[in-house]
């Protein structure tokens, strides 16, 4: 019977979906006469920071999430498909969830303790939606008794939305592109998933300048997209002549119907003149930016970046990367000059220089008001990639904070660093308090190179609780003030290279402090795939810096005049550059690759000190894991990479830095591999100095070859880092020096004695 009831319910729901889909189809047909209606669907987890479930607890709880609607589309309707499960002890006559979109009520769900898994679908009217961010709010009223007498925070009061199975479907129509440069920020991100862009050159030959221009354009795009994956294409387009019979197409002298994406034409006036209509070509009197609709697809844009000379094009592409405000409000502009600031050193946003103290506000953390709904605040900052310090070095937080009265003594603000708990501030004053200069120290070695996040999460509990008690929760307040400070001690700059993990987190050493001056990016071939891959790699690394990097060296030549070298492209047995001779993986006619064989286990015995600590203080010391040193077997063979991709880094024999090679073989698309690497969780798994992966996300990493210490000229810190790693070497050095010193002193004393007392 139950089963029959369930089937009936499922049938009713399916009918409803089919009906709505049919309705959509009909409406599309009607609308299609003017604009085609498109559909896009996402699981709710897509809009959340992590793949977590939406859980609403307590007698009264709320959860909010936001989804974006791009300026480039017009929402026709939306469907919210929710799958939720509630506690099976709730009273169904008093328990419900109410759903709002942008504070408009769109539905309510009765929470049934028996049929406690519910699937509902709500149609959201377009009037409720807006461009930009839209808010979905789930408000739950949950009770386990029929009376008012209950514990509002009882653990059985919960409802959980399945964020993976629940989805949001958007029906929309694309809007024609507004031909205003001020709209670029909104245009470059349709918020519908991957963003597609084609960079077009008008010159068949690929010049180093072009490589540079494309790289800066990709950076500009990637910085606007932030975390949205970029699908980039590079192509050469030949002019087909003006299609003057067609008014729209007459503006560009090539067939745009092949363009399926937004596009950028870049090149000097001479290089791209044949692609441009005369009026645009004439307008290029200096560094030029112009934004136009494509034809026939006016929903896509084509951006012209040009200049009369190569230098002007360079200025134009740099301008494109920098135009991050709603200015200019015009279709095209000619840049007269770029006045870069002279003051040095310049650093990306939220960058930390060791030895300084920063107010939270200077790191974009403003007064953080925490209550029962918004219990979290984040402080983000970037530490230098090669930061190294001694183990006792501490980072000091001087917190100014306040919290409300009538809270239970177990209320706290938990402080986490990169999702790892580090400290708690107990809020123990019943009458509330204001703490000035509350000091917390965290070992510097707990921090990571690159972006770090300190999270302040309040756990606030009312002093009144229990059944039949009115529980006031409006008093549950805490605030961390923006004038709180974080102090960083003087440290040194040392890194052990090669380290792909460091590259993954910070872009180091290819990019450092938003500068690529110490690196040369070398193209192994000039296929569109390789060029797009190089640009994408650079853009990805630049995104960690938060600001465009203009001092880049990207070339096809074999001039390796920088410390670090990045090799990007396809490799074949006929084309093996000499710089790969020293690589731990060799590709070509004969392929050499290190395979894991056995490992050497070095047992970490309890040290005398630890033993003493355990015996004296009965402290439970965590047993040390065995240190393993892998031993690889290098196998030389005829077969090579195939459909896999290789990223490896090794010590450069010709300079003081490292070589990074990003390679694919033969016809295998390198860009697809990069997309796989960057757009999935694969990138966070990069480590060692050899990383091989494929399109299915399978990966293999290894460490092989020697390493070097890279850093500033702080000899002391370099030695500290080295000898911490190799204590026996330190011991040997000291003992040798002491022996020599003792011998010298002995000889001196003997001579003194002879001179004085004989």
């Amino acid at each position: 019977m139950e089963r029959l009831k369930d089937m009936k319910s499922k049938f009713e729901k399916s009918s409803l979906i089919i009906f709505i889909m049919a309705l959509c189809f009909v409406s599309n047909v009607v609308v299609g006469q003017t604009e085609k209606t498109l559909i896009k669907s996402w699981p709710l987890s897509h809009f959340m920071t992590s793949n977590e479930q939406i859980v609403i607890r307590n007698a009264s709880g709320t959860y909010e999430l936001n989804f974006p609607v791009s300026d480039r589309i017009k929402p026709v309707s939306a469907i919210l498909d929710l799958t939720l499960t509630n506690s099976n002890v709730l009273k169904n006559n008093r328990s419900q969830v109410v759903i709002y979109v942008n504070d408009y009520l769109i539905g309510q769900i009765k929470l049934d303790p028996i049929n406690n898994t519910t699937k509902v679908i709500y149609q959201i009217a377009p009037e409720y939606l807006k461009q930009g961010y839209n808010k979905i709010t789930f408000k739950a009223a949950q009770h386990y008794t029929d009376s008012e007498c209950e514990d509002w925070s009882a653990p059985e009061l919960w409802t959980q939305f399945d964020a993976v199975k629940s989805s949001l479907t958007l029906n929309y129509q694309n809007l024609p592109v507004t031909e205003k440069l001020s709209k670029l920020n909104n245009l470059i991100n349709d918020r519908l998933g991957h963003y597609f862009l084609t960079i077009i050159r008008g010159d068949k030959a690929v010049s180093d300048d072009y490589l540079y221009w494309g790289s800066i354009i990709t950076q500009g795009v990637k910085l606007r997209l932030k975390y949205v994956p970029l699908k980039l294409e590079e192509s050469y387009i030949e002019a087909t002549g003006g299609l003057e019979e067609n008014e729209g197409a007459g503006r560009f002298k090539f067939n745009m119907e092949h363009l399926t994406n937004d596009a950028v034409i870049v090149g000097s006036k001479d290089q791209i003149r044949q692609l441009l209509p005369d009026n645009i070509a004439q307008a290029i009197e200096g560094p030029y930016l112009g934004l136009f609709q494509q034809y026939p697809n006016k929903h896509q844009f084509i951006l012209v970046i040009s200049g009369q000379t190569d230098d002007e094009v360079k200025s134009a592409v740099q301008s494109f990367a920098l135009l991050n405000a709603s200015f200019p409000d015009a279709q095209q502009t000619v840049i007269n000059a770029l006045n870069f600031p002279i003051a040095e050193p310049l650093l990306p946003d939220k960058s930390i220089i060791p030895g300084n103290t920063y107010t939270f506000s200077s790191l974009d953390f403003y007064n953080s008001f925490m209550d029962i709904q918004n219990s979290e605040a984040r402080l983000e900052f970037r530490l230098p990639a090669d930061l190294y310090s001694t183990e006792e070095t501490l980072i000091k937080l001087n917190l100014n904070l306040a919290y409300g009265a009538a809270m239970r003594k177990d209320s706290v603000i938990n402080i986490s660093l990169n999702n790892g708990f580090v400290h708690a501030v107990q809020l123990k004053e019943e009458s509330g308090a204001h703490y000035q200069n509350y000091q917390i120290s965290v070992p510097l070695r707990n921090f990571k190179p690159g972006l770090n996040t300190l999270t302040f999460k309040s756990v606030l509990t009312p002093s009144e609780y229990g059944e039949c008690a009115f529980v006031q929760r409006e008093n549950l307040l805490a605030n961390v003030y923006e004038d709180s400070t974080i102090s960083f001690p003087e440290t040194s700059r040392v890194a052990n290279l090669p380290d792909l993990k460091l590259l993954e987190r910070t872009g180091f050493p290819l990019l450092n402090n938003a500068s690529g001056d110490n690196t040369v990016f070398k193209m192994l071939d000039t296929s569109s795939d390789s060029i797009a891959s190089a640009w994408y790699l650079i853009a990805q690394l630049v995104s960690y810096q938060g600001t465009p990097v203009f001092d880049l060296n990207i070339t096809q030549s074999d001039i390796y005049d920088k410390d670090n070298i990045a090799l990007i492209g396809k490799i074949s047995s006929k084309n093996i550059p000499h710089i790969l001779d020293e690589a731990p993986v060799k590709l070509g006619k004969t392929n050499l690759f290190p395979y894991r064989f056995k490992e050497r286990q070095v047992a970490q015995r309890e040290t005398l000190i630890e033993r003493l600590e355990r015996v004296l203080f009965d402290n439970n010391i965590v047993n040390k894991a065995v240190a393993t040193e892998r031993e690889n077997v290098a196998i030389s063979q005829t077969a090579g990479l195939g459909n896999s991709y290789l990223m490896m880094s090794y010590v450069s024999q010709n300079s003081d830095g490292v070589v990074l090679a990003l390679l694919s073989e033969g016809s295998n698309e390198l860009y697809s591999g990069l997309t796989e690497l960057f757009s999935t969780g694969l990138w966070s798994k990069v480590q060692g100095n050899i990383f091989v992966w494929d399109k299915d996300g399978q990966f293999y990493w290894e460490r092989q070859g020697e390493s070097i210490m890279s850093g500033d000229d702080n000899l002391k810190m370099t030695w500290i880092m080295h000898f911490s790693k190799y204590p026996w070497q330190w011991l040997g050095l000291i003992f040798t020096l002491l022996l020599l010193s003792a011998w010298l002193m002995h000889k001196l004393l003997s001579r003194y004695k002879k001179d004085t007392h004989s």
Binding site: T390, E391, E392, T607, L608, I609, L612, E613, L616, F617, N619, S707, I708, M709, K716, T718, W719, I720, H722, F723, S724, P727, W728, W730, L731, L733, I734, F735, T736, L737, L738, L739, L740, S741, A742, W743, L744, M745, H746, K747, L748, L749, R751, Y752, K753, T756, H757
Partner: protein, 754 residues
């Protein structure tokens, strides 16, 4: 990555330079090398490598130190030992400076800075001590030529102020026993107890006492053929007294003896040779050998069970100083060249330690000193802790005055070794400040929670424990035969509470201190608590409560468990030291005026029977000697009809020929296993017999060497630590029990001016 090829090149170059240097005479190269070596070690010691690496090298080097200490070899291995321990100490201080002195709060910072300064002082003293003692130089005495005509004339001067006549009498008699051509030896008694000023004093007691004293001395001097000298008034204390005598004496050399320092017969034959060998020698100093215990030895029953406190200075440090040509004049048992003294206008008396001051000035004039480590006098130490403190306070104040008025770092013409040697001896006397800080520091944390030592448990075990162990091992390596472990701590702790005021008063007013003569030949009729005990009661109470609070804190603050435990150990160690000090302040009775000297002399007991005019010889073994008498072991009991006043002690040479006979009277006897012990009293009828007895008791310097060798044993670090702990606890508790069971009337009151 460290470029190892560069490193090896540097090491090679370093080695190469050393080789060049050792075969050349390039002083600049020496300096550069030393700087390179020092700089390199300094740099390496300052590296804050992770704790496990620090712990590893600490453990390794401590094992090396233990190994080297076990073999106790000298030369290169001694240098290696101190180099390694210096490295550990240097590493500790660089860590302390760089990583533990962060600002916590106002009061904690004051406490932390004070503690650090005290530690820094300790570290400085360590390095100075290591420098001084790196290669002790034990010179053999230079024999005199056979032709006595070439021997220089010597004036023996014995300054006296208020010492009992009987005490001075022994010294004068011993001086007349000195083996030296009589026409080249003149003995002078410089009596400051009967100056014209005192003889004409308006105070009847003073005047009468001075006159009586002068009368007795004049009589004694005429009997012993000693010249009696006094002066107009008491100015500039001992230095003034000796300078006044310079106008009356004209010998080439001057032998200075304190009034209670009886010389052995060979004091000149073992010292004067140095003056003939080198005309630039102004001083030959010999050790002070004491036949009685100091009050701490006496009260803790340490005398002759372990090396005396002064052994360290006279058997180790002076040897080290001598290597650096900076062994200095210690006021007595020394021969000085008259010419040198005249060159600086007599004995210096700006400070109250005229001896070291005079030596320092003469060293700065290019004169040389020799130290002959051969005990050639036997002297007396203060009997009570009060007297002991008077003596030590004078030394402390005098050396601090020297530091202020004649700072060896600023004085021209001194060699670097001499500067450091003197600096080491002067700075040592600032120890009361450091010791006081070490006493109170645990309380600052355990009582008040002040964060005075900013280190975690791993740091403590990686840096502090190796540092303390290195100090202990070095101390043991350098001084184990002359100073047992923790003895320095007890002596310094006991002195610190009083010396701190005295040293501070000198720092405030360097000209202020007065010369106070150490009382001698005090007899203590009964046990009593030293009147100086009161500050120790306070300190011990505070330390006890510190320990008590510490234990409580251990439970209240479990998160600070390791730090509290460490501090608690420190407080308990302080408590043990204070208990030992308390034991030493429980003055044990002492009725004997003349201390007995342990000996082992085979002799004959000669019994003369007046009725039969026969005599009988019984072999005996003399166990101890003193001016009052002796005790000996005899297998047979007292023969019948023996007249106890008509017995003699007969000393024979190796061939059995009688060389000396001393008349004695049997005073007591008692049974002992396998025989009997007899007590005798020497009997003399004239001054010559007295002089002969003095020669027998005090004249043989070889005997002092034997005693020193017996006392200079080394039971090992652990055993001596256990021994000292037991002694400290036992006598400390005895003191407390005595106080609890006695009445206040038994506490003897002294008027003490310190």
């Amino acid at each position: 990555m460290i470029n190892w090829s560069q490193l090896f090149f540097i090491v090679f170059l370093y080695h190469f330079k050393v080789v060049i240097f050792l075969h050349g005479k390039n002083r600049l190269m020496t300096l550069i090398l030393m700087l390179l070596m020092g700089g390199g070690l300094f740099f390496i010691a300052s590296l804050r490598v992770d704790w496990y690496a620090q712990a590893l090298i600490s453990l390794f080097f401590l094992l090396i130190l233990i190994l080297l200490r076990r073999f106790k070899t000298g030369g290169f291995w001694r240098v290696l030992f101190v180099t390694i321990s210096s490295f550990i100490v240097l590493r500790y201080f660089l860590w302390r400076i760089n990583y533990t002195l962060s600002y916590q709060d106002f009061f904690s910072s004051i406490g932390a800075t004070t503690l650090f300064l005290a530690e820094l002082y300790g570290g400085l003293m360590f390095f100075l001590s290591v420098f001084v003692n790196i290669r002790p130089y034990q010179r053999t005495f230079i024999p005199l030529p056979e032709d006595t005509a070439k021997w220089p004339s010597v004036d023996v001067i014995i300054p006296t102020y208020n010492e009992p006549v009987d005490l001075v009498k022994i010294t004068l008699a011993a001086a007349t026993n000195i083996e030296y051509p009589k026409h080249k030896l003149n003995i002078y008694l410089l009596d400051d107890g009967a100056t014209e000023q005192k003889l004409k004093s308006f105070n009847d007691d003073t005047r009468c006492a001075a006159k009586e004293r002068q009368r007795q001395f004049l009589n004694l001097c005429s009997l012993l053929n000693v010249t009696y000298l006094n002066r107009k008034e008491n100015v500039r204390a001992k230095a003034g007294n000796m300078n006044s005598a310079l106008a009356h004496i004209h010998g080439d050399l001057i032998l200075v003896l304190d009034a209670d320092h009886a010389p052995s017969v060979d004091i000149l034959t073992k010292t004067v040779g140095s003056f003939l060998a080198d005309e630039k020698v102004f001083l030959v100093q010999t050790p002070h050998f004491f036949i009685n215990p100091d009050p701490i030895e006496k009260n803790l029953d340490l005398f002759n069970r372990m090396p005396s406190e002064n052994f360290m200075f006279y058997q180790a440090i002076q040897l080290g100083l001598d290597f650096w040509q900076s062994s200095f004049f210690c006021g007595s048992a020394a021969v000085l060249r008259r010419k040198a003294i005249d060159e600086i206008g007599g004995f210096r008396g700006v400070t109250i330690t005229e001896d070291s001051e005079t030596a320092l000035i003469l060293h700065s004039k290019g004169w040389k000193s020799h130290y002959v480590m051969y005990p050639l006098i036997s002297g007396l130490q203060p009997e009570t802790f009060t007297s002991f403190m008077i003596q030590r306070t004078r030394w402390a104040q005098g050396m601090v005055q020297n530091f202020i008025f004649h700072n060896p770092l600023l004085l021209p013409n001194l060699k670097i070794g001499q500067r450091i040697g003197y600096l080491s001896n002067m700075l040592f006397w600032f120890f009361p400040f450091a010791r006081f800080v070490f006493l109170i520091s645990p309380g600052l944390y355990l009582f008040f929670g002040l964060k005075i030592y900013n280190a975690n448990f791993f740091d403590f075990l990686s840096y502090t424990v190796p540092y303390l162990a290195a100090l202990l091992l070095t101390n043991h390596y350098l001084f184990s035969k002359v100073r047992w472990v923790f003895i320095s701590e007890i002596y310094e702790t006991m002195q610190s509470l009083f010396s701190i005021r005295a040293v501070w008063s000198v720092l405030k007013n360097p000209s202020h201190p007065e010369f106070l003569v150490t009382p001698k030949m005090e007899t203590l009729d009964e046990d009593f608590i030293s009147p100086l005990a009161q500050p120790f009661y306070w300190t011990i109470w505070i330390t006890f409560f510190t320990v008590f609070f510490g234990i409580g804190r251990l439970f209240i603050y479990p998160e600070e468990q390791s730090l509290i435990t460490i501090t608690l150990f420190w407080a308990i160690f302080n408590l043990l030291l204070l208990l030992s000090a308390l034991g030493a302040l429980f003055e044990q009775k002492q009725r004997r005026l003349n201390p007995r000297i342990p000996v082992n002399i085979e002799a004959n007991w000669l019994i003369r029977y007046t009725d039969t005019l026969t005599e009988k010889r019984i072999p005996i073994l003399i166990n101890d000697l003193s001016m009052g008498g002796s005790s000996f072991f005899c297998e047979s009991e007292l023969p019948e009809n023996t007249e106890t006043i008509n017995t003699f002690i007969e000393i024979s040479d190796d061939l059995g020929k009688t060389i000396e006979i001393y008349k004695a009277a049997i005073t007591n006897s008692y049974n002992r296993k396998n025989g009997f012990i007899f007590g005798i009293k020497f009997i003399y009828s004239d001054i010559d017999e007295f002089v002969r007895i003095v020669r027998f008791v005090h004249g043989d310097s070889f005997r002092w060497i034997k005693i020193q060798e017996l006392a200079g044993n080394d039971p090992g670090l652990i055993k001596s630590m256990i021994f000292m702990t037991k002694i400290g606890v036992y006598y400390g508790i005895s003191h407390i029990k005595w106080v609890l069971s006695s009445t206040n009337g038994k506490i003897k009151r002294y008027e003490v001016k310190i």
